[in-house]
């Protein structure tokens, strides 16, 4: 090996502590990048192949009933590739072991051949026989949540008639990567299931012979999606269409897309923090090394080593550290990616999630860390090798100490000698002190951001199901029924409060902007469902006019006082106008609210309701649900709160895992920054400290000079970290804002204190490691050698 390379490896070995600390920071950056990016790409490609192989449609529309012949007209729309008409109906299910009724969605399956679009991936059993009544293929999530097997039977109320469904097979579909009940916010696979039933059986059960009520289209390449939707709506309007929409509003696809967006952000923010901190640490460590080796550089130049060779020598040293970090990062990243993908596998159902670390992602990650590292040290190396060799042979002039500002103000008189030395050191190089503070602050910020997700989701759930919605169950009817019908609900033994609501599917239009949603009519008494803004303040619901969710107003570009056009999507499909009388700044969905009576009036209908929120006396659930299951008008009972609790339970484990990652990452940064700063300070001031020891200072006093500085910087860094963390949370909550969710900017005090404690402990730990060095200061050697 060449002598210069030998020097490189020995120098590296000499600074191994620092090198490992920095490599660890780089490793974390690359790991998060590779983990998140490869999960992202695995999910993306799994989704893409799934969609393609099973022919996921691109435009969707639900209607009341249209004759099959209409499909030919739809197929003629320019840009339409394939058309799949279907019958989709609801069914109330009595799942053994489940008190409350579950809701099923029955989708027709062609009697012959495969569906043209939205095919099913068969996992178990077989397809239902078109000639046998009651045979269904069930979606995998519902089956596994409830522990069903092919051959199991479920009682269900279909079109008002009790029927037994036999599960003959289990499958999954690109339409239901996640299953979310209409109006729900969380997947509730125990109480909501998808079933496929042969078309002729569906026709018979729901009196739909020769007709369909749902249509799915695929488009030709280059088709004008908006135009297709417009024409489709025009054709289907007479048949009770709720308005067609494209994939970007398809709830399952939306959920996955939002998640991918989140992953994308996660793959970028933390790695940039890690790599910036690493660049800073490399800079500090290398600057110190170059100062120590000033004369060695001069000697190398005197022997005829060129600037380039010497530059490469030091770049090589840095390169080795980065390479070490990269290798660790790639290994850690593959592991992270694998465990993240398996986590997503639980929530999203793809036939195959081939987790694969793409070599290109690794190369990009490694490339980025080399780039940032080299940027971090470039200036230092360049200025060091540029010193003329004769100059470098002369020792660097002693650092210039000045009385610090505080001293000039005269405050120092209250300080003893040690704090005074600390103060001078800090004010002598404020930029370095500031960068060190910033580095520690970022570690603190990472902890805050890491916990933010949990804080925000918990807040949202508490808000939604603690403050806003306080019902035990929501009962929905097949169609609007006269308010009188509510009295039968009130008389069910065990039902407490009953609050009716009316829900009307509409398309709201304002100028060129429109959005399909539903107007909820709410009664005067609103204890179970309160209209709250994000500050948890009750929003008044005037007796006239619409109150819109702020997100909906933003989509429509509408303001309070403006008049919106309402295209009703049921019944006679009238078009009405109403003024917007208020906005509610809520967290989820694009809702519109109106006073119940005003809505009935707007619809020119007698007092009718679509459902009711109810409370149930404790211990009476069993009886209430049993009775509701047998009430023919009841289309479904949803228990969102219970659903959310179940969802959170399975989520908690993953949260814990993520939190572990986060704490590790933050500690790596904090230890990296503190340990490095302390090591560099020890090297810079070894002589000074040894001299102090010689003249009689104790070890404790000497270490307190060195570590006091870092303790002070750590204390400064924590509040700065709070601020940065909060800022990042704000950024994330804005960046991840979607129509489905607005993430509230809530950071719990416990998150702040947790971050502060972890950072302090990490700093203390690294301080103690360096203190060993102070204790072993070789007084004789340090004083003898020339610096």
């Amino acid at each position: 090996m060449r002598a210069l390379n030998r020097k490189l490896f020995r120098d590296l070995f000499h600074m191994r502590g620092q090198a490992i600390a920095i490599a660890a920071v780089i490793a974390c950056g690359i790991a998060v990048f590779i983990g998140a990016q490869s999960t992202l790409w695995s999910l993306k490609s799994a989704r893409e192949t799934y969609y393609e192989r099973y022919r996921f449609s691109e435009v969707f529309s639900t209607l009341k009933r249209a004759p099959n012949a209409i499909t030919d007209r739809i197929a003629d729309i320019p840009g339409v590739a394939k058309v799949q008409d279907r019958i989709i109906k609801g069914v109330t299910l009595d799942v053994p072991g489940l008190l409350e009724p579950a809701v099923g969605k029955l989708i027709s399956y062609p009697d012959r051949g495969e569906p043209v679009l939205n095919d099913i991936h068969l996992l178990m059993g077989r397809l239902p026989d078109p000639l046998r009544t009651g045979e269904v293929l069930a979606e995998e999530a519902f089956v596994s949540e409830n522990g069903f097997q092919p051959g199991d039977k479920i009682e269900g109320v279909m079109n008002g008639r009790l029927q037994t469904l036999t599960i003959v097979g289990v499958g999954m579909s690109p339409e239901y990567v996640t299953t979310i009940q209409p109006g729900g916010m969380w997947p509730d696979d125990k109480r909501f299931g998808i079933f496929w039933m042969p078309r002729r059986q569906m026709e018979a059960a729901f009196e739909m012979e020769g007709a369909f009520n749902d249509i799915a289209l695929s488009l030709l390449p280059g088709a004008n999606e908006k135009e297709v939707i417009r024409r489709l709506d025009r054709i289907l309007a007479p048949y009770g269409s709720l308005g067609a929409f494209a994939r970007d509003l398809h709830i399952s696809d939306r959920f996955v897309s939002d998640e991918l967006k989140q992953l994308q952000i996660m793959s970028l923010i933390p790695p940039s923090i890690f790599l910036s901190v690493a660049a800073f640490l490399l800079n500090v460590a290398l600057r110190r090394l170059l100062t120590l080796q000033r004369e060695q550089i001069a000697a190398l130049k005197a022997f005829g080593y060129s600037n380039r060779e010497i530059g490469f020598h030091y770049a090589g040293l840095i390169g080795l550290i980065i390479a070490g970090g990269s290798i660790m990062g790639c290994i850690l990243g593959s592991y992270m990616g694998r465990s993240m993908t398996s986590m997503y596998d639980e929530f999203y159902r793809f036939p195959t999630t081939l987790f694969r670390v793409d070599i290109r992602i690794m190369l990009v990650g490694v490339g980025l860390s080399f780039l940032s590292g080299m940027i971090g040290v470039f200036a230092a190396v360049r200025s060091a090798i540029r010193i003329p060799p004769a100059e470098a042979m002369r020792p660097e002039p002693p650092p210039n100490y000045e009385p610090s500002l505080i001293e000039r103000l005269g405050w120092h008189k209250i300080l003893s000698q040690v704090p005074r030395m600390i103060l001078r050191e800090l004010t002598r190089r404020p930029a370095k002190a500031a960068m060190t503070t910033l580095g520690i602050a970022f570690a603190c910020a990472i902890l805050i951001v890491g916990n933010f997700g949990k804080d925000a989701v918990m807040y949202m759930i508490d808000f939604q199901y603690g403050l806003q919605e306080r019902q035990d169950a929501t009962v929905t009817f097949y169609e609007a029924v006269p308010s009188r019908a509510l009295s039968s609900l009130k008389h069910v033994e065990g039902v407490g409060t009953v609050e009716p609501f009316r829900s009307v599917p509409v398309r709201l239009r304002y100028g060129q902007f429109s959005r399909q949603t539903a107007i909820q009519g709410l009664g005067e008494q609103r204890d179970l469902f309160r209209l709250l803004d994000s500050e948890a303040l009750e929003v008044p619901l005037p007796s006239e006019g619409l109150v819109l969710s702020a997100a909906l107003a933003k989509i429509l570009h509408i303001h309070t006082g403006d008049t919106v056009t309402i295209e009703v999507l049921e019944g006679e499909r009238p078009t009405r106008k109403s003024s917007v009388v208020g906005l509610v700044d809520d967290f989820a969905g694009t809702a519109a609210y109106m006073d119940l009576r005003a809505l009935n009036h707007l619809m020119r209908e007698p007092p009718v309701v679509s459902g009711a929120r109810i409370t149930i006396e404790s211990g009476r659930d069993d009886a209430v649900f049993r009775e509701l299951k047998e009430t023919p008008v009841v289309a479904g009972v949803t228990l969102q709160r219970v659903a959310v609790e179940g969802f959170m339970e399975s989520f908690a484990e993953n949260l814990l895992r993520m939190r572990m990652f986060n704490v590790t990452f933050a500690c790596v940064i904090a230890v990296g920054v503190v340990y490095n700063s302390a090591r560099v300070a020890l090297s810079e001031r070894g002589r000074e400290l040894a001299t102090l020891r010689v003249i009689g200072f104790t070890r404790g006093e000497v270490s307190s000079i060195l570590l006091g500085e870092l303790a002070f910087l750590t204390c400064c860094a924590i509040p700065v970290g709070f601020a940065i963390g909060y800022g990042l949370c704000l950024f994330i909550s804005t960046a991840l804002e979607t129509e489905l969710y607005r993430i509230p900017l809530v950071v719990n005090p416990s998150t702040f204190s947790f971050a502060a404690i972890v950072i302090s402990l990490a700093a203390l730990f690294s301080g103690l490691m360096v203190r060993r060095g102070v204790d072993h200061l070789d007084m004789v050697a340090v004083l003898k050698s020339r610096e």
Binding site: G304, Y305, P388
Partner: protein, 240 residues
């Protein structure tokens, strides 16, 4: 021994000046120096501290550039050399010995020498160079494991191992005691005699001048005097 008339000129400097600017003050380290160095001669540079000896040697060695004036190395004008030409010049022709040794602490004696032989055109083996300075035994020791004199001898081995055309030594014995100093000078003397390397030695110790062909005195940035020694004695015969 006077310089033979037909001796080839290795260095010729004309009216060299060097000014260091340090803020408001400028230090005139050299103020008009004319000097010639001939093939195979050994000169000693004497002068008070601050008289400009190191500055002159650094300029000759291509470590520094003059503020004005011209330097020729074998009729090539060094003042025109680019940075990379200077590097090549140092690499191919010059051997340096510094007052403070400037060994690489993370490399053993042998590796310190190899550092130079690896980039030289026609080097000796590091082992042979170390043998010349009597250090075969200490080849695998690190600088921190050696005494000052031993370190300086490693530095000399390092300088001569590439078989340079010129050997420039800045106070090679400055930090050494008498006996060790003599050992170091012997090594330099040997190289000059056996390899015919043109050698310049800076020293504060005028006794050492006895081993030089010529003695040049610098005074306040100018040449004070140039003496030719009629008889040259070996390092061993030096008497402090």
């Amino acid at each position: 021994m006077p310089v033979p008339d037909d001796a080839e000129l290795v260095y010729e400097a004309r009216d060299l000046t060097k000014v260091y600017h340090m803020g408001e003050v400028s230090v005139h380290a050299l103020r008009g120096v004319d000097i010639q160095l001939y093939e195979s001669e050994l000169i000693v540079l004497l002068g008070h501290s601050g008289s400009g000896k190191s500055t002159l040697l650094n300029i000759l060695g291509g470590l520094d550039v003059p503020s004005s004036g011209e330097v020729f190395y074998r009729s090539q004008k060094m003042s025109d050399f680019s940075e990379s030409e200077l590097t090549r010049y140092r690499r191919e022709h010059v051997g340096f010995v510094f007052q403070f040794y400037n060994l690489i602490p993370s490399l053993t004696a042998r590796e310190n020498v190899a550092l130079v032989t690896e980039i030289a055109n026609d080097p000796m083996k590091p082992e042979d160079a170390l043998a010349l300075v009597d250090l075969e035994e200490r080849m695998d020791h690190f600088p921190s494991q050696m005494s000052g004199g031993e370190q300086q001898r490693v530095a000399i081995a390092r300088a001569i191992a590439k078989q340079p055309d010129v050997l420039l030594c800045d106070e090679p014995t400055g930090a050494l005691d008498l006996e060790t100093g003599i050992k170091v000078l012997e090594a330099i003397d040997n190289v000059n005699k056996e390899l015919g390397t043109t050698t310049a030695v800076i020293t504060h110790n005028s006794v050492i001048s006895a081993m030089a062909h010529r003695v040049i005195r610098l005074h306040d940035g100018q040449i004070g005097s140039v003496e030719e020694n009629d008889t040259v004695i070996t390092a061993k015969e030096l008497n402090w």
